[in-house]
């Protein structure tokens, strides 16, 4: 016959042992997690995680580029990208989206970003790819606003052309099928005195974008300069540079139109 302990303390002891086992398992998991980078699935989201990640990997909308993709200037932070994502989701709940846009990114930065493992993996999995790039190149690389240095602007444009080619080649290399929607540039300074000069530059760069995109299949240029041409104040954020929510709404409308065409399968690279 053994001496029995009180039930409550025996229960406590069992709870303590259970805690020990659970925590030891957690500890073991954590150590393998941190030390062994054996989990080779970065960015692959658990299908059951949240509803925004629910769905097939092949229904991925990928956003690349600068602050426009990021959504800077939109008061609710959505930008064109999240609006399009929401619209797509109304038709198919399984569509997921990854926004890789980085504020202030130039074409040079994007060529590097696109080399990253995780970005390349995402590119492979994408069904649609949207790109906004060039604004930062154009308005930083062309001298100050008051005094546009034409020679410098030309050098920057040539560099941009090369970078854009490199970006589109890389995208196609990773994913030959997904349509790429490349936004054109717009002139945020159309209301200023020097507007002729800046407009000329934007037009020239937009021509570059069209020319480069024609070299690749399934690259759709989505022009937006017309929206901002007549009444830029109405569609620009208070920083006079980024679009506001109305501007982004327009951008998303344009993109949806372009994607609709894609849905009917009648577009062949510009």
């Amino acid at each position: 016959m053994k001496i029995k302990g009180r039930l409550i303390w025996i229960t406590f002891s069992f709870l303590a042992v259970a805690s020990l086992i659970i925590l030891a398992i957690g500890f073991g998991l954590a150590v393998t997690e941190v030390t062994g980078p054996s989990t080779p699935s970065p960015d692959s989201r658990n299908p059951s995680d949240t509803d925004e990640t629910r769905g097939m990997e092949k229904d991925l909308l990928l956003g690349l580029g600068d602050s426009l993709t990021r959504g800077t200037g939109d008061t609710n932070g959505q930008g064109y990208f999240e609006r399009v994502h929401q619209s797509l989701r109304e038709k198919n709940r399984g569509i997921s989206a990854v926004n890789l846009g980085i504020k202030g990114q130039t074409s040079e930065d994007l060529t590097k970003q696109i080399q990253q493992d995780r970005v390349q993996r995402l590119l492979k999995e994408s069904r649609w790819i949207t790109v906004t790039i060039g604004g930062n190149d154009l308005f930083r690389g062309s001298g100050s606003l008051e005094k546009i240095d034409l020679e410098k602007a030309e050098n920057t444009r040539q560099a941009y052309e090369k970078n854009l080619q490199s970006i589109l080649s890389d995208i196609r290399e990773q994913n030959p099928d997904a349509p790429v929607f490349l936004f054109g540039l717009y002139n945020p300074f159309g209301h200023l005195e020097d507007s002729e000069k800046t407009s000329a530059l934007v037009t020239e760069w937009n021509q570059t974008i069209r020319a480069v995109s024609q070299e690749y299949t399934k690259v759709v240029v989505v022009p937006i300069d017309d929206i901002f041409q007549l009444n830029p104040e109405k569609y620009l954020y208070s920083d006079h540079f980024h679009p506001n929510e109305k501007g982004y709404a327009f951008m998303s409308q344009r993109l949806m139109q372009a994607m609709q065409v894609d849905g009917e399968g009648s577009v062949n690279g510009g």
Binding site: F12, A16, L23, D43, S44, N46, N76, Q116
Partner: protein, 330 residues
Amino acid sequence: MHNWVSLIYNELLKMIKKKRVRVILLIVVALIPIFTYAQYRTVQTTIEQLGTSDWRTVLQQQIIDSQNRLSSSRLPDEWRESLKLNIQQQQYYLDHDINPAAPGAPTFAREFVEESVSLFLPLLVVVVASDIVSSEHAGGTIKLLLTRPVRRWRILLSKYLALILLVSFIVTATAVLAILISGVIFGYSGWNMPVLTGFSQQNGELVTDHVHLIPQWKYLLMGYGLAWFACAAVATLSFMVSVLVRSTAASMGVMLAALISGNLLTQLAPTWTALKYLAFTNLRLTDYLSGSSTMIEGMTLPFSLAVLTVWSLAALAVAFTVFTRNDVLA
């Protein structure tokens, strides 16, 4: 085998009957609502300042704030590095549309363990661990304990195992209480929220090659598992001190001083790399999980685990040698 169960049960019974454990749980129960409210206030203040409750804007704002701090020339280099890493990480959350602070009890519990692993939890552990042997000396019961037909090392080992069980219980109870109490305000959802992990550092760069998402419940399990290891190391050191020092107050004092100076030193002298060989500078194990930068260069999870293990083994060796060899004088 039955003998072991009996011995450990005895020690557990003594510990929980002593009210200390109940006091500790009460402390946790009393403090968590305060932490919860503090967290709630922080979120509210941020929303007020930004005029929005959208976390993307909040995160963007945080990034901008950090960038502004970066441009200040008075910032020490060490801080600059960790700030840069933070920005990169926040940017990553933003890029992947992941809300790092999605309110919810699991998120609170996750942040709670990340903040409490270096001081709050160890303090609780020190309070229970430091009197485990010294109280037997102080109460004179050591004479009864050591005149049983049980070898001294078995008695000490049963005490140690009981202590580890109790520490496990306290860590789990803290997690459960944190979730239950904070959920009243934040709600109980967010278990499956994806959390990023797998960040590592090389030469001050945040290496995101192995970054991936895991559901938050798994992250919680791992975070509290790491906290448990840190607490077990603290318990082991307190255990040794408790064997060496006959008075409970003194042994608690020694441990508290060591614990707090360990915390202070990492903040005061982050360039003094020799500090990384101390036990108490290696308690922030959850940082390796969340990808927060460590204060001292060259610290990795295996390194910290090794340091804690070596200290613990040394402490056990000292404790067992002293306890089995020493005469029990009045």
